[in-house]
């Protein structure tokens, strides 16, 4: 059974079609790489899935329920959590409060004690154990990214949307992060990763889809997709003498 189905999702900004009739489906537990050059519509597509933007046309079905055009809080309660490309933390709250939020207001609406337990576990998973009472505003960029992930995890999502979460990590951190994502997937979480680090995509995502100029140009096993003629052309430009 598909946990996520997208039928011809389209988003138009003025005269620009940022996402053009994109369709795909995912099975529960899959990790999907969402690739494409800058400006190809990957983040807009994530925004359509998380409810940050409503599609201009098309349908989005999450866990068999039609979520097209629903508000982000409704979609969050349907089991979707995300991180943001430009990190968004809550600077005036502590780390624990940052993370508790999605346990308290997410799909399971935990009471305070349960939410605190879940928040602590999520902080531990994201590598921020022992920093619960620190102020989020004081974190380094990398720790802010960890915090965002912890917040997403505390929502106990079925579907996790990661928007370039691996960007900016050094090789050691990347190695840890890849292991973490793999562990999450092992728990049965369905993950969509927008990512430019191909090494990580190859390691984590058995399947990838590629967007270019708003359109889906490839969908299949990652190795095949990355060798696809259209995909190579989208990244590198058409070869003149082909």
């Amino acid at each position: 059974m598909s946990i996520l189905e997208i039928h011809e999702a389209t988003r138009i900004f003025g005269g620009l079609t940022a996402v053009n009739k994109v369709s795909f489906a995912m099975e529960a537990g899959e990790i999907l790489g969402l690739l494409g050059p800058n400006g190809s519509g990957k983040t807009t597509l994530l925004n359509l899935l998380s409810g940050a933007l409503a599609p201009s046309a098309g349908r989005i079905v999450i866990g068999r329920r039609d979520m097209t055009g629903r508000k982000p809080n409704i979609i969050a309660r349907q089991g979707v959590a995300r991180t943001f490309q430009l990190v968004r933390i809550l600077p005036s709250l502590t780390l624990e409060e940052n993370v508790i939020v999605s346990a308290v207001f997410g799909r399971n609406r935990h009471d305070k004690e349960a939410a605190r337990r879940i928040a602590r576990a999520a902080l531990r998973d994201a590598g921020l154990e022992g920093m619960e009472t620190c102020s989020a505003g004081d974190l380094t960029y990398l720790d802010q990214k960890r915090l965002e992930l912890a917040r997403a995890l505390a929502a106990e999502p079925d579907i996790l949307l990661m928007d370039e979460w691996l960007a900016g990590l050094n090789p050691t951190e990347l190695h840890e992060a890849v292991a973490l994502v793999r562990a999450l997937s092992g728990r049965g979480m369905t993950i969509i990763m927008v990512e430019h680090i191909m090494e990580a995509v190859r390691a984590l995502c058995p399947r990838s889809i590629v967007m270019n100029a708003g359109t889906l140009i490839a969908d299949g096993p990652t190795a095949n997709v990355l060798n696809d003629r259209h995909v190579v052309a989208a990244y590198l430009g058409e070869a003149d003498d082909a």
Partner: protein, 303 residues
């Protein structure tokens, strides 16, 4: 436990104060109780969400006007109930139509709202009822007004304390930090903001209603004085708008200062008010209590 006992003792002392004061002293206490209530009620919504509302006087004036219109027709408790209902009703309508606005647009809208309400009432009074002013003849002593304001202020701070410890308070704080994150965490933005805005506006309306017998004579230019809105903001910001006791800590000294200024420098008073506003925003973005907390933390880190 000790804090609770101390609070109750302080409250009893505050309630007993008018028995030992001159009329002037009692007047000051009424002013302070009123502004502590206004600033705390303002902060209940605006301090947490950082939606700066300049509509305080719209609700405050409506409370006063409700009393002016109804004071000779129905019993006083019913007048207060009506004022509360009118305030809550208006807050719901305004909230539903404006809380999608953010930042400066919300500020401007709320400022415009206060002016709109004032102009509408003026127009109505001039063209329909044919009088501009109204009298409030209520058999209420200054002490009774003070006690009512004290009760309302206590309720406001108590309600804020309760909210800050529950889901609503967390939701408001998250909205104040980042609405996008709030929505994606599952918070219903519209509902959360509407509840807090309506609670805040209803208290402000009641504050206007309770204070109104002090005027005896009421007309729009008096009860819809925009200074009330600005004072509520500056007081809350001075003390620390997102802290439980911040608005009260800002309201007491500023009220006394402005009282003194308006007696001694009636002409330059508005200029000083403006300068204070700028100084507070620039020098104390987190308010005095926030600044103190930071100093304490720094002291701890140094030790």
């Amino acid at each position: 436990m000790i804090a609770l006992a101390a609070s109750i003792a302080a409250l009893v002392a505050l309630a007993a104060v008018p028995l030992f004061l001159t009329d002037y002293g009692l007047g000051l206490m009424i002013g302070m109780a009123g502004y502590v209530t206004l600033a705390s009620a303002w902060a209940l919504f605006s301090g947490q969400t950082r939606y700066i509302s300049l509509a305080t006087v719209a609700f405050y004036g409506i409370g006063a006007y409700t009393v002016a219109v109804l004071n000779e027709t129905i019993a006083y408790p019913l007048v207060l109930a009506c004022a509360g209902l009118v305030g809550a009703g208006l807050a719901l309508v305004v909230g539903l139509s404006t809380l999608r606005l953010s930042g400066i647009y919300f500020v401007i809208f709320t400022f415009g709202l206060a002016e709109l309400v004032r102009q509408l009432i003026t127009w109505y009074e001039v063209n329909v009822t044919g009088t501009l002013g109204r009298y409030i003849f209520l058999d209420i002593t200054a002490r009774e007004i003070y006690w009512q304001l004290l009760a309302l202020g206590t309720f406001t701070i108590g309600l804020t304390a309760w909210i800050l410890r529950h889901r609503l308070g967390l939701a408001l704080k998250v909205i104040g930090d980042d609405e996008t994150v709030a929505a994606h965490a599952g918070i219903d933005l519209a509902r959360t903001k509407l509840i807090a805005f309506t609670l805040s506006a209803t208290i402000i309306t009641l504050c206007g209603a309770i204070s109104s017998p002090r005027w005896t004579y009421v007309e729009p230019i008096i009860v819809f004085n925009p200074n009330v809105s600005f004072l509520a903001v500056i007081m809350a910001l001075l003390g620390g708008a997102n802290r439980l006791w911040g608005p009260a800590a800002g309201a007491v000294p500023l009220f006394l200062l402005f009282e003194w200024l308006s007696v001694n420098f009636p002409d330059t008073y508005p200029i000083i008010l403006g300068l204070m506003f700028i100084a507070v925003v620039f020098l104390l973005p987190d308010g005095v209590l926030g600044g103190l907390a930071r100093l304490r933390q720094r002291g701890k880190a140094a030790a």
